[in-house]
């Protein structure tokens, strides 16, 4: 006798929830190709297919090939809508061509996976970064306009306009729906990586937005599966996992930031750390190191160390030096100085930090002043430290960061 099998309704909702994100993005890709880039029609038809699935599957059970069922339903709806819209218009020819397509998909395995094409279209550098991020979230994760708006703290109306303009530019400028040819990949892949990493960072901020981190990791995972020969994609996924593994220790019970040094390492997600380091090792074996792989290697040094003191700081100093060579930035130099302080003491690092201060380029970056203050405090130069802490306090962007600096200003 069967033990407590779930009712059909629950089975249907569970399955739809489980496959929603991947199915949404794959079918949106297929519909975009079918409708010749009509984003609204594509999204509407996919939405409609999910609504129908929820109703029908709850009654008659989940079909054996759910992706094929959804795709065929969305496709029929699109053809129907285009046929109706085309009566008496020049679009008739296109619809006639549609009739030559196979009537429906019968198996999930024959559904093309066009998520990669979709990623490259959404992250095309002729769109501005905000548009790239919004379009990526809408078409690749199926988040609603309202959800995306809330994640970026803008009104739904603003986000709606942003998405509308982005979709319009894709159509008007004719941004192609394809994976760029090999000779364009070196200039196009970084755009995709930076959008996905920006999504992750947006979610990893303060306060954290778990959904964005999850979606960024899911998309990075899909990217590594679709482009298994791109070590930087793997490096980025590893970096995300190694950061995300520390999510439970980053804030204390008051919601205040806890520094890496002071985090409770028993809260770190060891399974995620193991996965991240394994992916990183696979990437590094391809011997084409890039900024994401090096940052992931640094994150791995931290994630696998039993304590701050037992961290392989000399290795981290070397990795930052390497990062600085291939992707020069003052922020990287600042981080390198912090690592040098851990190896050779604060006095060794202060001249490097002062050199960054002298460029004047990071004047408004509170972490520069907070770092300098920390080094001065550790070197016993309290008066100078207080002065730098105050500068940092004025520049700190969030309350949690201000509270953290204030705690450092208090004696004891």
């Amino acid at each position: 006798m069967h033990t407590a099998r779930k009712p059909v309704t629950e089975q249907a909702t569970d399955l739809i929830a489980e496959i929603y994100t991947d199915a949404w993005s794959r079918i949106v890709g297929i519909m975009l190709r079918l409708t010749g880039g009509d984003w609204d029609l594509a999204e509407e038809c996919v939405q409609d297919a999910f609504t129908q699935a929820l109703q029908k599957w709850s009654v008659s059970g989940v079909p054996r090939q759910p992706l094929a069922w959804l795709t065929t339903t969305a496709r029929n709806r699109a053809i129907d809508r285009m046929r109706r819209a085309s009566i008496g218009t020049a679009k008739l020819r296109e619809v006639a061509a549609l009739d030559l397509e196979p009537p429906s998909y019968t198996s999930d395995s024959e559904i093309p996976d066009e998520r990669l094409e979709l990623m490259f279209t959404c992250c095309h550098p002729s769109l501005n970064l905000e548009a790239q991020v919004a379009l990526t979230l809408r078409s690749l994760t199926g988040m609603s306009t309202g959800e995306i708006a809330r994640a970026f703290l803008v009104s739904e109306r603003t986000m709606g306009q942003r998405l509308f303009r982005a979709k319009q530019k894709v159509v008007h400028a004719r941004i192609p729906f394809r994976v760029p040819p090999t000779h364009l990949l070196p200039e196009r892949l970084p755009a995709v990586l930076s959008v996905l990493y920006l999504l992750f960072n947006e979610g990893y901020g303060d306060p954290p937005k778990t959904r964005l981190c999850q979606e960024a990791i899911r998309l990075a995972r899909a990217l590594t599966q679709l482009m298994p020969d791109e070590p930087e994609a793997q490096g980025m996924l590893a970096l995300m996992l190694l950061h995300n593994a520390r999510r439970h220790s980053r804030f204390d019970t008051n919601g205040d930031l806890v520094t890496l040094e002071e985090q409770d390492r028993s809260l770190w997600d060891t399974a995620e750390i193991d996965e991240g380091t394994a992916i990183l090792e696979r990437a590094l074996r391809q011997r084409r190191a890039g900024p994401f792989q090096i940052q992931a290697a640094i994150a791995a040094c931290h994630a696998t160390a039993p304590s701050a003191a037992q961290t392989d700081w000399p290795e981290i100093v070397g990795l930052f030096a390497r990062l600085s060579r291939i992707a020069p930035s003052l922020v990287v130099d600042l981080n390198r100085a912090v690592a040098i302080a851990m190896v050779d003491g604060p006095e060794a690092a202060l001249p490097l930090v002062d050199a960054i201060v002298e460029t004047g380029q990071l004047d408004d970056y509170y972490l520069l002043h907070a770092t300098r203050a920390d080094l001065l405090r550790r070197a016993g130069r309290m008066a100078e430290a207080s002065e730098s802490y105050r500068t940092a306090l004025d520049l700190a962007p969030t309350n949690a960061e201000r509270r953290f600096i204030e705690s450092r200003l208090r004696p004891g």
């Binding site: 002729s126 159509v171 400028a173 004719r174 760029p180």
Partner: protein, 113 residues
């Protein structure tokens, strides 16, 4: 798909930015033979421009360029390309993308108001 390629002058050029730029004659020959470049011309300097606007049914003329375009537009090409990627490649190979700036504007789509 047609794109207007506006060829503009960089108002603030850095020394050496055009080093290694491709030859314009090669570009013209290639794009003409591929029938990518449909038409083109240089235009005279901004001080020879006339700005026309009608306000309250009155034609108002200004000697000089529309403020937004300043002194930048040096010429234009009309390109026929498969998509924006091809147009970007064509534009990037024009020497003025090195020594100046190129702006690509898609033509108004057929059948849209």
């Amino acid at each position: 798909m047609k794109y207007l390629m506006l060829v503009c002058i960089d108002p603030d050029p850095k020394p050496g930015q055009a080093d290694g730029a491709p030859d314009v004659d090669d570009w013209v020959k290639e794009m003409d033979s591929k029938q990518i470049r449909l038409m083109c011309n240089r235009v005279l300097q901004a001080r020879d421009a006339t700005t026309v606007l009608v306000r309250n049914r009155e034609v108002l003329l200004t000697d000089g360029p529309y403020a937004e375009t300043k002194d930048l537009i040096a010429g234009f090409d009309v390109l026929e390309c498969a998509d924006i990627d091809e147009a970007i490649q064509v534009a990037a190979r024009h020497p003025m993308a090195w020594s100046g700036v190129i702006e690509l504007r898609p033509f108004w789509p057929d059948g849209e108001d």
